[in-house]
Symmetry: C4
Subunit: 250 residues, 4 copies
């Protein structure tokens, strides 16, 4: 015979279990995210956009009260989520009991600061429907980290060499822009990456000829990592195909 108290405790445990499955993405057996976590992801995205927009005086002036209200509402929602998480944490053996709850409250996932929210969003995205694609991209980039590091080293060497040469060629004519190698680096990085702001350009014939050569070398600097990544993705896809897996079956 169950006593009423025990019955209530059992009910409570069932509810805690449901809450845990709703809030903890790793506890879920079906692929993808629960509806609760999708809403939380949406709220985090909304809070991020609001934080970004709030820095703009023009937008702030348009709706002075709106941001305060919205921030308060979002803070309330995240507080509710936070309390829910602390309650549900009892399902996890690591955070059981009062000591465990306090430990959980100090863990990074429980905190609602701005940068941690973004981390939480990335964590949710990783566990969502893009998990395969993110994993493949990550492995492809990681598997070629040596080649990518080497091409970054080549890029660094080219930056130092080209800025040294342009410094020699242009320092006397444009001391403000090319008066030292660190200053000339600003032009070098803009040219080798083909960004080409154009706020600083060589004016001497020698400097312009060298800038032209630098721009052509810059194509190679872009082609290098592109080629490495293309080969890595091609590789990863062939592996996936050989294993008979596809993304399309969802």
């Amino acid at each position: 015979m169950q006593q009423p108290n025990s019955q209530a405790a059992s009910d409570c445990r069932v509810w805690r279990r449901r809450l845990y499955l709703m809030l903890e993405p790793t506890a879920r057996q079906a692929p993808g995210l629960s509806i609760t976590n999708r809403c939380i992801a949406g709220l985090i995205l909304l809070a991020t956009i609001l934080t970004l927009l709030e820095t703009e005086p023009v937008v702030r002036a348009l709706a002075p009260g709106f941001f305060i209200t919205a921030e308060a509402a979002l803070a309330m929602a995240f507080l509710v989520e936070y309390i829910g998480r602390v309650i549900a944490a009892g399902e996890d053996p690591r955070y059981r009991g009062w000591a465990g709850r306090l430990r959980f409250m100090a863990s990074p996932w429980a905190i609602n600061a701005f940068t941690l929210r973004l981390l939480k969003l990335i964590r949710l995205a990783r566990l969502g429907r893009f998990s395969n694609a993110i994993g493949d991209l990550y492995r492809a980039v990681r598997g070629r980290r040596y080649e990518l590091t080497v091409s970054l080293m080549v890029a660094g060497l080219l930056l130092v060499l080209t800025s040294s040469v342009i410094y020699v060629l242009e320092a006397n004519h444009q001391p403000e822009a090319f008066g030292s190698i660190p200053r000339a680096l600003w032009w070098s990085v803009a040219t080798l990456t083909t960004v080409g702001y154009g706020d600083v350009t060589p004016v001497t014939p020698g400097g312009q000829v060298f800038a032209g050569l630098t721009a052509i070398v810059g194509i190679g600097m872009i082609a290098m990592p592109t080629g490495i990544l293309a080969a890595a993705f091609s590789d990863a896809m062939q592996k996936r195909r050989e294993q008979g897996e596809e993304y399309d079956n969802d």
Copy 2:
């Protein structure tokens, strides 16, 4: 014994069949487009170019009467095509009889508005000789939509992070250009995509060092989708080769 009336109806039906085959690209058995549809595609292209040129006052001033005449002539041609289509629609079981014709006249393909014309042009191009190539490109891009979405998400994250950092570094020196994160986004997107307009550039040493790093990261942002698409196309071509198909046999 056929009555003259029935003979005329039979003749009429043969002509309607011919008109249908001339105008409806999906009814054609031979590959490519009929001569009539090629002419219509040419006229749509001409009408589009005229509509674009007409917005330029200098061009309009050069030949004031020409545009009115040309637009009228094209409108007449599209009206003839429209009437032809309504007549030929009787060959399609869906649009038979008076009710069917009215239904056809309300369907998007029959209407001659500007944006719909472009859609019609795309539809014609898809059924023409480029159908295999368009299909392959479409499947290659669609088959990698998760990876491409992930790389767009990475791009979005990078845009937010770089504009937040440059806002902190440059807001005090250039409030007009970097006074808020949404404003700083304009610089971020120009740098990460390596467009580099140069209308807004950082001026503080810290901002310039960070801009250099952003430009180098931007190469990776371009290399990612390029690598994914390269692998997808490589994949699609291998499949096609294994099936023994080639584009060149036309």
Copy 3:
């Protein structure tokens, strides 16, 4: 018994044969170009560079007599080559006899005009040591001409669409730069190709948001042909490897 005259004619024929082998790259059995043709290629390159430099007033002022002398010397050299070619043409059955020589003198390869010289240079390069590489590149590009055409069509469509939208958004604020769709095309092409001159940029918030989206779409526009060419080259190399051929054995 040979007569002296016949002996001289025979000698003459031997010399003509040697001249023909020296001057006609297709007659050579060994791979690469003869020394004579290498010298001619060098002279054409020199003449081209001189023609380009001659347009610059500063360079012309530096050495006023030099260009006249150099041009005269080069003209003399090409005249000698021309006479040599006309004599050697007798080895080719098509140009035998007086009528044949006149026909040869009218053929494009014999003429020494500026643009034809460049064509001759390309022809020599194609027959030289890069013949395999040029052939592979040509076949790779040609074999994917449909996909490349489709991606050019996509580019054209994007140019028209983006310039139409930016025209709507910016025409009132910057009539000089965005006052018509053809004018707005100048900005569109600079943004979608990621060239980004920066002489014309949107100033309204809506225009800047749209420009950011256009710049991101521009990455895809660059990734498309890059991916197609990468796959085509990968394909061509695999074919070559399967045939056991390599470039490195020279």
Copy 4:
């Protein structure tokens, strides 16, 4: 019975051997670099950065004494390394004895000049943990040198042709920027590489239309080497995979 003198000579040889193994990267049997060489690589990197920073007056003014002290300390460290190398060179049969030591002191690796230091750094990097990745990149680029040379030749031809055409179209309107073909080259190289400084842009309608076409052609010019390198890397990885080797096992 060993004499004390001989004992000292033997001790000396053991120490010389240790010094040699510490300093000469090629003598090491374990993969990677010895701790001594890592420190030397770090010092070279530090000296390079100091040399670059020293050119900047603002930085020099901030810490006038620092640079002199740092340069002196680094010079001392490199002198110690130099003496160590001269002593250890006795282990190498080529540099044994007094004559050998003098020969070694004149060899490029022993000299500590600025540019040679960078060469030494590259040599150390090549022998370090990135040796496989550097070797693969080098072989991939070298194996496609003909195709890359051809695409450079195509780039050169495009530069000459586009600058000639823009010279014809713009010379009368902007003599300063497009007054000669060599001047127009500055615009051509900025456009075809998609750097797009924007300091010089065409202003006539004809020039702008041609510039748009040039920018689109520029995409192909970037896609060419990217595609070639992507195929080469893909090739190199497949070879490595077939041999069962991977980078990841370190």
